[in-house]
């Protein structure tokens, strides 16, 4: 059935043209890159010509069947797509033990943790490296939080022979050591960023600073569905393979769509990738899960729940900030969610009411992490552990016939040191 799904270029055409009906949630952004009042291109003038050029090349790629063909081929044979759709019977039964009579929805997972490099990040990196090649760029930079996007970027750079520089907050380097080593093995240079809070937002600042000074030869592979237009759109399009596959797999396996989609949100790329192809299916509800860290009244990373609209990193979106617009430091046990902003399309989907957003604390995520290990024999990353915690919360409220589909967007190998420390175990 995978060969029957339309090729990438055609799918993009569907996305950008046919859906321009007033009743669609899939026709964003507008030609200026705005999702309602969010998104846009808030960058220094030096970068403006470059992102206009990127958009031009992206439009050309969207209508070039050769681009789609290469993208699809790499996803199939290098990344290992389609990723399985899995009914998590063990977790479902475990959750049903605590559920009221007749309650306890079926829990299904989209297994993007089985991708090459262990997370969904690679889908986007394949798309962007092909764009970099098209544009004739000769070096790649990226920011990374958990290191998953850094590893995925280093991977595609090794595969396509690009020199690669990864900016990573010094704090994150400390808590994601295995990924630093992986990036270096893959030939990438990892630059520690010590400014600000030395986490993901500062890594992004430093990547932007580097980019303005190297505009002519350098392509910036942004790792989430945020940043200046056209990044939120193109990252979403590349990640939408998740939702397109899942939708087709559901229909093929059980001939119906899920009742609820759940995904964790850092910048929002795995979530928008899962959600977007379902946005015009009104019977499918969606829940994005932000990181509540130590709690929403303490340090957290839930910009929709605890922030307000503002401008950072090239786009207007919900941010954690004070009344003067100074950006607050985020906190999450999960480095991949530890960001004080969110992709602009999520800000718009929240305000439009199409998607619900909730949050999960560090402790709840740690519990869900262990629960999945024990009930399914799957060690999840801390990022999707947030989604799993929300799934268990929702499942007990839903009927047994109902179906929850969650994005298992990363595996937990990178997190075992963090988890061991949180559990007070030495390894």
């Amino acid at each position: 059935m995978w060969t029957e799904s339309p090729p990438f270029a055609k799918r993009c055409a569907i996305m950008t043209k046919t859906t321009n009906s007033p009743n669609s949630y899939r026709n964003q952004p507008d030609e200026r890159g705005h999702f309602g009042e969010f998104g846009g291109r808030y960058v220094a003038e030096t970068l403006m010509p470059l992102i206009l050029d990127l958009e031009k090349h992206y439009r050309a790629a969207q209508s070039d069947p050769a681009f789609a063909e290469e993208f699809d081929d790499l996803l199939a044979n290098y990344v290992g797509r389609p990723s399985p759709l899995y009914y998590a019977e063990g977790l479902t039964e475990e959750v049903r033990k605590d559920a009221p009579e007749g309650k306890g929805a079926q829990i299904w997972f989209k297994r993007d943790e089985l991708n090459h490099t262990g997370a969904h990040k690679i889908n986007n990196c394949i798309g962007q490296i092909l764009l970099a090649k098209r544009m004739g760029k000769t070096r790649i930079i990226a920011e990374t939080g958990a290191g998953q996007h850094g590893v995925a970027t280093a991977t595609v750079c090794a595969r396509f022979g690009f020199p690669c520089t990864i900016f990573m907050g010094a704090t994150d380097i400390e808590r994601q050591k295995p990924n630093i080593f992986r990036m270096r093995l893959l030939g990438a240079e990892v630059v520690p960023v010590t400014s600000g809070s030395a986490t993901l937002k500062d890594a992004m600042n430093e990547a932007l600073r580097h980019w303005v000074a190297h505009v002519h030869d350098t392509f910036y592979i942004i790792g989430t569905a945020a940043g200046p237009h056209p990044y939120p759109e193109l990252v979403r399009d590349f990640q939408s393979v998740i939702g397109k596959e899942a939708r087709a797999q559901m229909l093929e396996r059980i001939d119906r769509l899920p009742d609820l989609l759940v995904a964790a949100i850092g910048g929002g790329s795995n979530a928008i990738g899962l959600f977007h192809p379902f946005l015009d299916d009104p019977e499918v509800k969606m829940l994005g899960v932000e990181a509540a860290g130590h709690g929403l009244d303490k340090e957290h990373a839930a910009s929709l729940a605890g922030g307000g609209p503002g401008i950072l990193h090239g786009n207007k979106t919900y941010l954690l900030q004070d009344e003067d617009g100074q950006i607050d430091e985020a906190h999450s046990i999960s480095a991949g969610l530890d960001y004080p902003g969110i992709g602009p399309e999520h800000s718009w989907l929240k305000e439009s009411g199409r998607v619900d957003y909730d949050s999960v604390t560090d402790i709840e995520a740690l519990d869900a992490f262990q629960l999945l290990c024990r009930t399914e024999g799957i060690i999840p990353a801390l990022e999707p552990s947030h989604a799993i915690a929300a799934v268990t919360r929702e499942a007990v409220k839903m009927d047994r016939e109902q179906i929850i589909l969650a994005n298992l967007c990363g595996r937990g190998d990178k997190d075992i040191f963090t988890v061991a420390e949180a559990l007070g175990t030495e390894i």
Partner: protein, 262 residues
């Protein structure tokens, strides 16, 4: 706005001096601004501190951190501007900074605050013409100058859109990069200024990487203004509260060089 257009003398280039407001503390900025004027600065650029100064190099990043750590609020920056206006009724003052602190209370609020504080113009680093409606309209409605940036990557096709609706002066960022690091070659500056002046009657000021009186003099022979920032901010970083006289002497060395250049 009139203050701004009158501050570019016919017979020499204007000296535009940047410091970060609230660095090292809000209480010290007034003295430092006075030192800029005493040293011969024609136009003051007062930086609004931001937690995430994406277009700035290490010197101005650190100035932002010093200022925010001292507790500087937007209200302090506006107070600094208001008091400067009382002391120096004729010296134009421009606020420079990032979109979020400028727009967080709405563009109209910010435009009104600029008027109330006697601010003549605004330079916003991360609002390109494509997003002008998020701040520019409100400023123009209150006759606060919207000062545009042109860079080495701004090509001939794009330039007219930047000049359209620009006011005050045109700021040519002479290097593709962040503040404070390298300086552009004189030949490339000359070529760029000629190109820009062919498209606008606004004065053209050139900045990024200008450090020495010699560099300032060279640029002043071809441009209407010379912008110096990081080098002043570094003096404040070194001397802190006592930076005033050092800032004044340094700015005077730039000003003397510019005055004798043509």
């Amino acid at each position: 706005m009139t203050r701004l257009s009158q501050s570019f003398p016919a017979d020499r280039a204007a000296l535009v001096a940047f410091v970060t407001g609230g660095d090292p503390t809000p209480a010290d900025t007034g003295t430092i601004l006075d030192a800029l004027v005493e040293g011969g600065a024609d136009i003051i650029e007062l930086g609004m501190p931001f937690t995430d100064p994406m277009a700035d190099g290490p010197s101005i990043q650190e100035a932002n951190i010093r200022s925010l750590n001292a507790g500087t609020k937007t209200a302090d920056i506006l107070t600094i501007a208001t008091e400067f206006r009382e002391r120096h009724p004729n010296t134009p003052l421009v606020l420079m900074g990032y979109a979020n602190p400028m727009t967080i209370r709405g563009p109209e609020w910010f435009a009104d605050a600029c008027v109330a504080a006697g601010v003549d113009g605004v330079i916003c680093v991360d609002i390109p013409v494509e997003e002008d409606d998020s701040l520019g309209d409100a400023l123009r409605a209150k006759e606060v100058a919207v000062i545009r940036l042109a860079t080495p990557t701004t090509d001939a096709k794009r330039l007219p859109s930047i000049l359209n609706n620009a006011s005050g002066f045109l700021y040519y960022v002479s290097v593709a990069g962040i503040t404070g690091l390298q300086q552009a070659a004189q030949a490339s500056i000359e070529e760029a200024v000629a190109r820009l002046k062919a498209g606008t009657d606004l004065p053209v000021a050139v900045g990024f990487g200008v450090r020495t009186p010699e560099q300032a003099a060279d640029i002043s022979r071809v441009a209407d203004g010379v912008v110096v920032g990081s080098a002043i901010v570094e003096i404040i970083g070194k001397y802190g509260k006592d930076a005033g006289p050092h800032v004044r002497d340094y700015v005077k060395s730039l000003s003397d060089a510019i005055r004798s250049a043509r």
